[in-house]
C-alpha cells in the first residue's frame, strides 16, 4: 500500500479520514458482499458527516466526570477550560497546560466521531476549530453553508453538558460552611465534587513513569550497584492504587480506560513511630547504638554530614579567594530542621521503649547505665519505691542530654574520618560543635516533654 499523500486542504484531510475508516472496516470483505455495498453508502463523506453530526450528541468531551465518583451515578459532567480557573497557589486543574487532553464520556460506539474531531489541521484540532466556529472548517464540511454551520455547531456542542444540571444519589454531595454560624441551615452550600479526569491524566503518566519508566529502572539499578548515573530518579513512598470501574474501566471514561482503571493515590500518612516488635535493650550499656541504626536516623546523620561538608567547601572557597570566613552559615534553617528532626526521632524512640512492660530494666541481663534506665523505664517507679526515689533525686535528664550529644559527636566524627583533637581539623570541630549546640537546644524541648510527664504522674499518684 502506498503512503497516503499529506492532505493539501482541510477537506482532503476529512475525506482521507473517512476513507481510511472505510478501508479498515471492509478490509476482509469481498466487493460484491451486500454488507460492503451498504458500508460504501454509509461512508460517502457527506452521509458520514451528517451521521457523525447526529451521533456526536451521544458523546461529551469533559475535564471533570461523574462516573469515576461512582459507576452507577448519572448526571452532569463538565468541560471547564483550565485557564478559566483561579485556584491560586493550590494544586488543581488550572495547572494543566494549554494542550491538555480532554476525556470522553458517553456511548463508546460513537467514539470514532471523537477521533474525527481530534484530527489536526495546521496544528489545531477540528474540535478547536469547531469551538471557534472557524470559517475554513465550515467551508470544508459542506458546500451548503447552512448545513455546514449546523454540523460545526453540533460538533462544538460535544463539550456542552447534556440536559439540565443534575447530580445523583450515588454522586458525592457535601455541605460546606460559607458563613460563620454552623448552626444556621442557611450557612451552607452544597458542593458536588466531580473527578478531575483531565488533571489525573498527566498525574498518572508521571507516576507510571517513575514506577516503570526505563530511566527510573536504570536509576534504581545504578543506585543498588552504587554506580554513576546521569541525573536521578524518584520514589513515591507508600503509593496506593485504587481501581476505578473494576474490570470494565471503559465504562467510566475514555481516559480511565487508557489508564487501565488505575488511580494512583499519594500517601499522607503520619510518621510511623511504632515498630512492630520492641524488645528490651538487654546486654548492652546504652541504647544509643540501637537508635543510630534506625533508617531515618541514619538518613538524618547522612544529611548532617553533607551539610557540614557543604559549609566546609564554601569556606575553603572563601579562604582561597582571600575572604574572611562567614559568621553565619548557609541554610541555617535546614540545619535547625535536621537537628529538630533528630530530636523528634529520639522522642519516638523513647515512647516506643515506654511501651515495654514496666520494670523490664530489673532483668538480670539488663546492663544499661542507670540514667538510661531512668529515661526508658519510668513505669518501674510504680513498682519499686527505691527506684522511684533515686530517679526523682537524680539529674538523669541532664545525663541523657550529655550522653546523646556525646553519641552524636562520635558518630559525626567517625563518619567524617577525622580526629577532633587534631589542630588541623579545628574547623571541622567548630562545625560539629555548631551542630551539637543546636541539637542540645532541641533536646531541651524533649526533656521538657518527658519531665512534665513525671511531674503530672506524681500529681496523679498523690
Amino acid at each position: 500500500m502506498s503512503e497516503p499523500q499529506p492532505p493539501g486542504s482541510l477537506r482532503e484531510l476529512i475525506e482521507q479520514f473517512i476513507h481510511q475508516r472505510f478501508a479498515t472496516k471492509t478490509e476482509k470483505m469481498a466487493s460484491d458482499d451486500p454488507a460492503y455495498i451498504k458500508l460504501q453508502e454509509q461512508f460517502v463523506p457527506q452521509t458520514w458527516l451528517a451521521d457523525a453530526a447526529r451521533r456526536v450528541s451521544q458523546l461529551q468531551v469533559v475535564t471533570h466526570s461523574l462516573k469515576a465518583i461512582h459507576p452507577d451515578a448519572k448526571g452532569t459532567n463538565l468541560y471547564v477550560e483550565p485557564r478559566s480557573l483561579e485556584q491560586g497557589d493550590l494544586v488543581g486543574s488550572h495547572c494543566l497546560p494549554d494542550d491538555f487532553q480532554g476525556d470522553v464520556v458517553g456511548n463508546a460506539a460513537a467514539l470514532d466521531v471523537y477521533k474525527f474531531l481530534k484530527l489536526e489541521w495546521q496544528e489545531r484540532s477540528l474540535l478547536e476549530l469547531a469551538l471557534e466556529n472557524d470559517d475554513t472548517l465550515v467551508g470544508a464540511l459542506s458546500k451548503e453553508r447552512e448545513e455546514a454551520q449546523a454540523w460545526a455547531q453540533a460538533f462544538a456542542n460535544i463539550v456542552e453538558p447534556k440536559g439540565t444540571p443534575s447530580s445523583h444519589a450515588r454522586g458525592k454531595q457535601v455541605y460546606w460552611l460559607v458563613n460563620d454560624d454552623p448552626t444556621d441551615n442557611a450557612s451552607y452550600h452544597l458542593l458536588a465534587p466531580l473527578y478531575a479526569t483531565a488533571l489525573t491524566n498527566p498525574f498518572h503518566a508521571r507516576l507510571s513513569e517513575a514506577r516503570f519508566g526505563e530511566h527510573a529502572k536504570a536509576g534504581r539499578k545504578a543506585r543498588r550497584d552504587n554506580a554513576a548515573f546521569e541525573g536521578g530518579y524518584s520514589d513515591y513512598l507508600n503509593l496506593a492504587v485504587q481501581k476505578l470501574g473494576g474490570t470494565k474501566p471503559q465504562n467510566i471514561s475514555q481516559l480511565n480506560s487508557e489508564r487501565g482503571g488505575q488511580n494512583y493515590l499519594l500517601a499522607s500518612l503520619p510518621p510511623n513511630w511504632i515498630s512492630r516488635d520492641v524488645t528490651p535493650p538487654l546486654r548492652t550499656e546504652s541504647v544509643l547504638p540501637r537508635f543510630g541504626r534506625r533508617a531515618p536516623v541514619r538518613q538524618l546523620i547522612n544529611d548532617l554530614v553533607n551539610w557540614i561538608k557543604q559549609n566546609m567547601k564554601e569556606d575553603e572557597r572563601r579562604a582561597q579567594s582571600g575572604k574572611a570566613p562567614r559568621k553565619t552559615y548557609q541554610d541555617r534553617d535546614l540545619h535547625d530542621d535536621l537537628t529538630a528532626m533528630l530530636s523528634d526521632e529520639l522522642l519516638m524512640f523513647t515512647y516506643e521503649l515506654h511501651r515495654l512492660t514496666p520494670g523490664w530494666s530489673k532483668d538480670s541481663e539488663c546492663r544499661l547505665v542507670t540514667a538510661e534506665c531512668y529515661w526508658l523505664d519510668p513505669g518501674r517507679s510504680e513498682l519499686d519505691s527505691d527506684f522511684a526515689t533515686a530517679r526523682r533525686r537524680s539529674d538523669w535528664h541532664e545525663d541523657i542530654s550529655h550522653r546523646v550529644a556525646g553519641w552524636l559527636k562520635n558518630t559525626l566524627t567517625k563518619r567524617m574520618k577525622i580526629s577532633l583533637d587534631d589542630p588541623v581539623h579545628d574547623f571541622w570541630a567548630a562545625q560539629v560543635e555548631l551542630v551539637l549546640r543546636n541539637f542540645r537546644r532541641q533536646l531541651e524541648d524533649l526533656e521538657d516533654a518527658l519531665r512534665d510527664d513525671d511531674e503530672s504522674l506524681q500529681g496523679e499518684l498523690a
Partner: protein, 327 residues
C-alpha cells in the same frame, strides 16, 4: 488567641475513610474533622452555650487496612451484597484505617460560665460522651481503653497571665505525646513552585507538589585524589534531595468551583433543595506532621474554614506557617 480549649483525648476510630481525595490516601481529610466540629456544635444540648471556632487533630496511632509490604499498597476490600438481579453491584473501592486521635476544639462562651471548674468538667464530659456516639471520617468511635487521668476529657481555660498560659500549654502538650499533628504548608508549596519556575517557566504548582511528595534520588560523581597513589578517581555518591526538611505530605485542603453557583432547587437530584449548589473539584496543598512538643501555642495546630467565594474557593486554613516564618 485561643482562650478555651476542649480536649477530647484518645478517641479510637475504627474503619475511618482512608481515601481522602482522588489523589491522596492515608489520613482522613481535615474537612472530615472540621465536619465533626460543626456537627458537635449543631447538636449542642440547649443548656450548653458555646461557640466552636477551630479544630486540631493529634494522631497517636494509625493502622491502615492495606496490603503489607511491596512497593504499591492495595486496600483490603469488604465483601458487598449483590444487587437486585443477583449480580455484583458496582462498587467504588474504599480504603479504611483505624486511628487513635485526640481532638482539640477552640471554643468561646456564649453565655456559659466557663470560670467555674466544675462547669467546665461537666461540659467536657457531656461533649466527650456525645462524640463517642458520632461517626468521624466515616468510622465509628470505639469505647476508650481506660479512663486514666490523661485520657479524661477537659475544657481548659487559659490564664490571662503569659507565664501561666505557657505552663498550661506545656502540661497539655505532654498529654498529646506521643503523636503527630497535621499543619498546613501552603508557604512551602508556593516557594517551591517559584523555585521550579525560575528554572523552567512552564513549571506549575502540580510539579512542585509532586516534587515535594516523593523521594528524589540523585547521583553525584566527584573526582577525588586517592590518598595512597595520588591518582584521580571517581567517587559515586547517591543522595536524597529534599528541598525542605520536615515530614511533608500531600493533602487535600478543600474544593474549587468548576461551575457557576446554582440557586436552591435548580439542580436535579440534589440532596437538599434548600441550599445553593455548585460543582467543584478537589484542591491540594502540602501539609506537615509535627510532634506536639514543638508547638509554641495551641493556635498553631488548629484548622478552620476560610473561603474565597469571590474566586470560588472553598477551603481550610491553618496558621502554623505564619508562626514559623515569624521566628
Amino acid at each position: 488567641m485561643i482562650n478555651h480549649l476542649l480536649v477530647l483525648p484518645r478517641l479510637r476510630i475504627q474503619n475511618a475513610n482512608a481515601i481522602s481525595s482522588p489523589m491522596t490516601w492515608g489520613f482522613p481529610a481535615m474537612s472530615a474533622f472540621v465536619g465533626v466540629q460543626q456537627v458537635l456544635e449543631r447538636n449542642l444540648p440547649d443548656d450548653i452555650k458555646l461557640v466552636f471556632n477551630e479544630i486540631g487533630v493529634v494522631c497517636h496511632h494509625i493502622e491502615p487496612q492495606v496490603t503489607e509490604g511491596g512497593f504499591i499498597k492495595a486496600f483490603h476490600l469488604t465483601r458487598n451484597p449483590v444487587d437486585k438481579s443477583g449480580g455484583t453491584a458496582a462498587i467504588v473501592e474504599e480504603g479504611r484505617s483505624h486511628l487513635e486521635v485526640t481532638l482539640l476544639i477552640g471554643v468561646e462562651s456564649e453565655g456559659d460560665d466557663l470560670s467555674s471548674a466544675e462547669r467546665r468538667r461537666a461540659i467536657a464530659q457531656t461533649l466527650f460522651d456525645q462524640v463517642q456516639g458520632m461517626r468521624i471520617a466515616g468510622g465509628s468511635v470505639m469505647p476508650a481503653f481506660d479512663t486514666q487521668q490523661r485520657n479524661r476529657p477537659e475544657l481548659i481555660s487559659f490564664s490571662a497571665t503569659e507565664s501561666e498560659r505557657v505552663k498550661q500549654w506545656r502540661r497539655l502538650k505532654r498529654r498529646l505525646l506521643p503523636g503527630f499533628a497535621l499543619v498546613l504548608r501552603d508557604d512551602l508549596l508556593a516557594e517551591h513552585t517559584a523555585t521550579l519556575k525560575a528554572q523552567d517557566e512552564s513549571a506549575t504548582t502540580l510539579d512542585a507538589w509532586l516534587d515535594l511528595s516523593r523521594l528524589n534520588h540523585e547521583c553525584l560523581v566527584e573526582q577525588v585524589e586517592d590518598e595512597k597513589d595520588g591518582k584521580e578517581k571517581e567517587v559515586v555518591q547517591w543522595n536524597v534531595r529534599r528541598p525542605y526538611r520536615g515530614w511533608l505530605v500531600p493533602i487535600p485542603v478543600g474544593y474549587g468551583a468548576i461551575s457557576d453557583q446554582y440557586d436552591p432547587g435548580e439542580v436535579a437530584n440534589a440532596r437538599d433543595p434548600s441550599v445553593p449548589f455548585r460543582f467543584v473539584e478537589s484542591l491540594y496543598s502540602i501539609g506537615e506532621w509535627v510532634s506536639p512538643h514543638r508547638f509554641q501555642k495551641p493556635d498553631d495546630l488548629m484548622w478552620f474554614v476560610e473561603n474565597d467565594l469571590g474566586r470560588g474557593i472553598y477551603r481550610l486554613q491553618n496558621d502554623y506557617a505564619n508562626t514559623v516564618t515569624q521566628d
